[in-house]
Symmetry: C2
Subunit: 236 residues, 2 copies
DNA sequence: GAAACCCTTCGGTGGACGCCGAAACGTCCG
DNA sequence: CGGACGTTTCGGCGTCCACCGAAGGGTTTC
């Protein structure tokens, strides 16, 4: 005889409006900091924090600390699938398959992680610069002499980044690509240069970035980095 | 953009131990009266009633009134599937596919619905007797003269059933077969005769019945009713 | 009609929990 | 180091709700 399942933990996790909003926001596969979830649900930061621990304890959501931020995401595909099937019960509306939202796709392509480039653009550039010897090491991403020269030619304020108080380079784990990308003072300088040179422009809302034609051309010609058009990107 | 789903209603429905027990009991596809569910969960009848209305309002469970009983069952296969996928989250144990339990299969084959035969045996006999002209009408199941003769020959106390205060015949909707079977005073008399003649025996626990070899032979030879061996019955 | 039975509805009570602001903790920046 | 920032923890408050017993409605049986 099959052992009984205890639905109470998962059920309780789903039973409040704020947590329902959280899960809906995370259903597209994105990771989001606690504060963003709090404002989206219209609750205070402290309340959101409590809700999030409930979701984590229930196994629906995972947390990852990054600097002074804490990113929350669905625990896995099976969670998304379960919520999907539950959604069928919630409203009689037909199911739309689980997939990244259009906005999530934009963010996955290119975005600002605070002051440095992230997404496929950020990880792609980092990979290319490691391959070409501009950056050394997998985790440290130390700036080499060749890298200093190359980036200076690009117009990046390398000297300012080196003399800054904050660490020159830092590896920041990308939550869509699951690989590190360049952060720290140098990462910030690179991001500033990309914006100033018009290689990327801020997307209408939030952290998203549009890679301009000139930027797309630059990264392809210089580092062989081929960025897929967001709108046409193959998902999943 | 996909409209947000509201998980709160379903979530709240799952969030208490008593309701979790109810759903586990109903997961095998059986229908059960409110009282049975109440004692199984260890709560009072009134509390159970409130829980059940919550489950019905959430769309997880349906209620069907039968006489002075009220049978509750899962609302459908999709509900079972959703609970199944949720169960994966609840415990890490691997899933055993959704299917009728062995006990449920026994009950579906033959059982007592209070004092009259139900399950495939009950509906099969009723169908056969309607076909052969012993009973008339789809809903009333009135006893014909030929039926009185035939049943009397079987040893059924037809006269006692006709003169009883309660209605001679009544159609009782079968919850496994979803078709009517014979109830009322005559149904009771038939059930009594089947037990006395040794055509069926009470299963060890509760309402379940075992059809004996003599009973199996009788129904096949007399009415062409072929009952599948419970243990070998194909499910689903 | 009367009694037995099943179930639901109705009050009332106690505990659980969602909510917030204040304070503490850790990180980043100059 | 000092200030800003994101997040969590802590106390306290108000509400919701799970629970029960008693009462009421409906059905079956005698």
């Amino acid at each position: 005889m099959a052992r009984d399942r205890d639905f109470t933990v998962v059920g309780r996790a789903l039973s409040t409006p704020a947590r329902s909003v959280f899960l809906n926001l995370l259903l597209d596969g994105t990771s989001r900091p606690a504060g963003e979830l709090a404002t989206a649900a219209g609750v205070s930061a402290s309340t959101a924090s409590e809700h999030l621990t409930v979701l984590v304890d229930a196994g629906l959501v995972t947390a990852r600390t990054q600097g002074r931020h804490r990113y929350y995401a669905l625990a896995g595909q099976d969670v998304a699938a379960a919520l999907e099937s539950l959604g069928v019960l919630a409203d009689a509306a037909p199911v739309s398959g689980y997939r990244r939202s259009r906005r999530a796709e934009y963010l996955a392509a290119a975005r600002f992680c605070y002051d440095h480039l992230a997404g496929r653009l950020g990880t792609g550039l980092t990979d290319a610069w490691v391959r070409s010897g501009w950056l050394a090491g997998r985790d440290e991403l130390a700036l080499t002499d060749a890298g200093a020269v190359g980036l200076r030619e690009l117009g990046v304020d390398v000297d300012g980044a080196v003399t800054a108080r904050r660490p020159t380079t830092r590896a920041c784990l990308d939550w869509t690509e699951r690989r590190p990308h360049l952060a720290g003072a140098l990462g910030s300088a690179v991001g500033t240069r990309f914006l100033d040179a018009g290689w990327v422009t801020r997307h209408r809302s939030g952290r998203g970035l549009d890679v301009t034609d000139s930027g797309r051309l630059l990264v392809r010609e210089t580092w062989g980095l081929d960025l897929v058009e967001p709108g046409r990107a193959r998902v999943r």
